[in-house]
């Protein structure tokens, strides 16, 4: 892909944010006017452990170019242990996606507390830049293409 094409390309990014930390962190980023690209669309979930790998695969299948999951820092989960399970599940899922040849830069987990508006914004800026550099997600949407 040429650099010129990359400049035109705007990725579709789905961000799952836990209600207690990361969604609040996103709110803080907003009230602090810490900009990040409009490509990021947030889906609020009660906890990172609510995010089913099916949701992530669904997003990719429907044309998402990157999916990021944000939760409370390990040890700070509102439900005590939710993010610990999410961490294992996502490690497994991301490893599998990487294994089947999907660029590992398209998936990310980041722990963002309610106080970390700046981190939320920085994370999203970084993630969007990374996914933009990878270009359009063709692999996962096309894994079983019948050409």
């Amino acid at each position: 892909m040429s650099i010129g094409a990359n400049e035109e390309f705007r990725p579709k990014i789905v961000a799952f944010c836990c209600n207690w930390c990361s969604y609040a962190g996103a709110d803080l980023a907003g009230s602090s006017r810490l900009a990040y690209p409009a490509d990021v669309k947030i889906i609020r979930v009660p906890c990172s452990c609510r995010v089913n790998p099916m949701f992530i695969l669904r997003a990719f299948e429907r044309g998402a170019d990157g999916v990021i999951l944000c939760g409370c820092h390990p040890g700070d989960c509102h439900y005590s242990t939710g993010n610990f399970y999410a961490r294992r599940r996502m490690t497994m899922l991301f490893s599998m996606l990487d294994y089947i040849g999907v660029e590992n830069g398209r998936t990310r987990v980041e722990w963002v507390s309610a106080a970390e508006g700046a981190k939320f914004s920085a994370t999203m800026n970084d993630f969007v830049a990374k996914v933009t550099s990878l270009g359009k997600n063709v692999r996962l949407g096309d894994l079983r293409c019948k050409n």
């Binding site: 207690w20 006017r33 005590s80 599940r89």
Partner: protein
């Protein structure tokens, strides 16, 4: 059922409308399937705005409402209540956050408008799949727990008890009193700390509604708002509290007096059997088993021999007390930071470099020097004293804390003033970055130190303190106003070390599932509007555990925390979050995977008769106790068959959002 969705787009004055083309959003969302009504208004959260929503619900028989406005963390409840008043189930409302997530962070109007439309579509897609939910009820145990027995905890407990509720204080050390009991005088009135604190301690101990668990720690917390179950470890005191008369003979006779006194910050020693200070409450000593000869060698037993009451019990074991509470107040307070990162101040090298808290003990009549200002090295009276401010506070290099400890400017002014008052021949110099004195009578207090007591304030930092061979100290600093290097002799250097939350707070916060910030202060439910509540329901914050504060602020905040706790305890029942997990018994395997990940023990298994097309059998299936379920959703993903789903955040709802965003 035919969907009839209403979309309401808020301008939020210009907060949203300046960046998002609100009319365009209305126009676009009106085209979405199921949408029968779309309008915009200046302030949807206002009475007029809410009336518009209510009117549309009634007139157009809306089945779902989408409000495109600020964060649901702000007004979701407002709009749910509005819907409920208009006869729509409150859980048929979804919020598209087009302020925090759109207008406030994007500049380009076209881009922002487009994103607002997409977020609106996602909310519409979700609300189409919402189901009416009804909040359940749970009981409230009318008893509060206060963790920490300093002035914050004592005040909170007194206020809760005053309202007529039972309250328990758990204090880690052998006595309540906390940091304030270590202080000599308090600013800005210079009254004696013990004189104002001790009556409160006595009051707490005498109050019938208050139970003190001193020398105790919280071991385990389970349950949730209104219904917490807490295990308290009552550490073995080795003294029977019911027999001890507090005569103090055991402490006098104890042959082992080599243990460093925690209360006097290690400046002197205490006996192995001890009460931390004379006014300790309860006035019952504890045996420090790590220093007691009897426990170390098996020989001694002097205290047991001299105790007339026969209260000494070497066999005493830790005891676990399990109690139920409706509310928990955290008042774990602070300590000062360790100075390992600040070698340049020679704190470890010279006993005459001390912290302000140590100075409090030195100045105190019951302290290691009986209140005489003297150097710890040679017990000589100092002639020149230097105070260094912001040691580890307002630090940008990562060695200390980024925040202002808030109390140091004032207590240093206090120390300087007290010393100049009592020892007029002592020269006092203060190195400061800024002097911060907001507060009633605070600046007046500081000015007195400068103007009436002639304390030498130098704006500038100290780079180094060097202990000299003659026992004196050389202070190398800069004067930023005169822009010159300063080198001065000092007999004592006092460091205003930063304060930090009690190190136990991490453990406690984890037990309570209360969130904590990067500095280990507990996070408020809202920094401005809910400053004494944790985001975790039923947990309240009192004192420095929330952030640095002085005594008057601590006391007022402790009272506020008490009021919030009382407000909770006054309720007979709480409405529970209806967004709980539910198992579809047709799809449930009964495999127990969900129960393994449930943090609340909310899932059990029952043999139930299952009937379906061609099926009639008794199966082991999961049953969720919705009073215990807090709605995290861990089980929904653990469940291999997808039988477990979360109301309000169902698989289909979330997938509908994903699809709408990726459309």
């Amino acid at each position: 059922m035919q969907q009839r969705i209403g979309v309401f787009v808020c301008h939020c004055g210009s907060n949203i409308a300046a960046t998002v083309d609100v009319k365009k959003v209305v126009e676009m969302l009106a085209l979405e399937p199921g949408v029968v009504h779309a309008e915009d208004y200046q302030y949807m959260c206002s009475e007029v705005g809410q009336a518009k929503i209510a009117e549309a619900i009634k007139e157009k028989q809306l089945t779902g409402v989408v409000v495109c406005s600020c964060s649901p963390r702000m007004h979701e409840t407002t709009f749910r209540k509005c819907a409920e008043r208009a006869g729509l189930n409150p859980y048929m409302v979804e919020i598209a956050n087009i302020r925090e997530q759109v207008s406030w962070i994007h500049k380009d109007m076209e881009e922002a408008t487009q994103k607002a439309v997409i977020l609106g579509r996602a909310a519409i897609a979700k609300v189409s799949l919402n189901t009416p939910l009804k909040a359940g009820e749970s009981r409230v145990t009318k008893r509060a727990l206060v963790i920490g027995g300093g002035i914050a905890g004592i005040q909170t407990a007194l206020d809760i008890a005053d309202a007529g509720y039972e309250v328990d204080i758990v204090e880690k050390t052998p006595s309540i009193g906390g940091r304030m009991s270590q202080l000599d005088k308090t600013f800005p009135t210079l009254d004696c700390s013990a004189c104002i604190l001790t009556p409160k301690m006595v009051e707490a101990s005498a109050n019938e509604k208050i139970t003190l668990y001193t020398y105790s720690e919280v071991e385990k917390v389970s349950g949730f708002v209104g219904d917490f179950t807490v295990d308290i470890r009552k550490k073995a005191r080795s003294v029977d509290m019911s027999k001890c008369t507090g005569c103090g003979v055991c402490q006098e006779k104890c042959p082992n007096k080599k243990a460093p006194s925690e209360f006097n910050r290690g400046l002197n020693t205490r006996s192995a059997i001890y009460t931390p200070f004379a006014q300790a409450i309860p006035n019952v000593p504890v045996i420090d088993r790590e220093h007691c000869t009897k426990f170390l060698t098996g020989k001694c037993g002097v205290c047991s021999k001299v105790c007339q009451a026969g209260a000494i019990d070497y066999e005493q074991q830790d005891e676990i007390i399990t109690e139920k509470y409706g509310a928990i107040v955290v008042a774990t307070g602070f300590d000062i930071i360790k100075l390992d990162n600040y070698g340049e101040y020679a704190y470890d090298q010279s006993p005459d470099v001390i912290t302000s808290l140590e100075l409090e003990r030195i100045m105190n009549a019951a302290g290691p020097t009986k209140g005489h200002l003297e150097r710890m090295s040679d017990h000589k009276a100092p002639k020149n004293m230097v105070f260094i401010q912001c040691v580890g506070s307002r630090c940008s290099d990562g060695r200390g804390k980024s925040y202002c400890s808030k109390i140091c400017c004032m207590y240093t002014a206090k120390h300087a003033m007290l010393i100049r008052d009592k020892y007029p021949d002592v020269n006092v110099t203060v190195f400061y970055i800024d002097v911060r004195t907001p507060g009633k009578n605070f600046d007046e207090f500081y000015r007195r130190a400068v103007e009436d007591y002639h304390v030498n304030y130098i704006k500038g930092q100290v780079g180094k303190v060097t202990p000299e061979a003659d026992g004196s100290l050389t202070v190398h600093g800069v004067d930023l106003i005169d822009n010159k290097q300063i080198k001065m002799k000092a007999d004592m250097v006092v460091l205003a070390a930063a304060i930090e939350p009690n190190p136990d707070i991490r453990k406690i916060a984890t037990m309570l599932t209360a969130s904590i910030d990067t500095n280990n202060f507990l996070t408020e439910a809202h920094a401005k509007l809910r400053p004494v509540e944790s985001p975790t329901a039923g947990i309240f914050l009192s004192g420095v555990t929330q952030g640095p504060k002085d005594i008057p602020e601590t006391v007022s905040q402790a009272g506020a925390a008490a009021v919030k706790a009382i407000g909770l305890l006054a309720k007979d029942k709480l409405l529970t979050n209806p967004c709980t997990a539910q198992a579809d018994i047709m799809a449930c395997n009964g495999c127990s995977t969900c129960a393994n990940v449930c943090p609340y023990g909310a899932i059990s298994y029952e043999d139930k008769e299952v009937r379906g097309p061609g099926i009639r059998e008794v199966r082991r299936v999961a049953v969720v106790n919705s009073a215990l379920c807090q709605g995290c959703g861990a089980c929904t993903v653990a469940c291999p068959s997808g039988a477990m789903d979360l109301q309000g955040f169902s698989n289909r709802q979330i997938i509908a959002e994903v699809d709408a965003i990726c459309r």
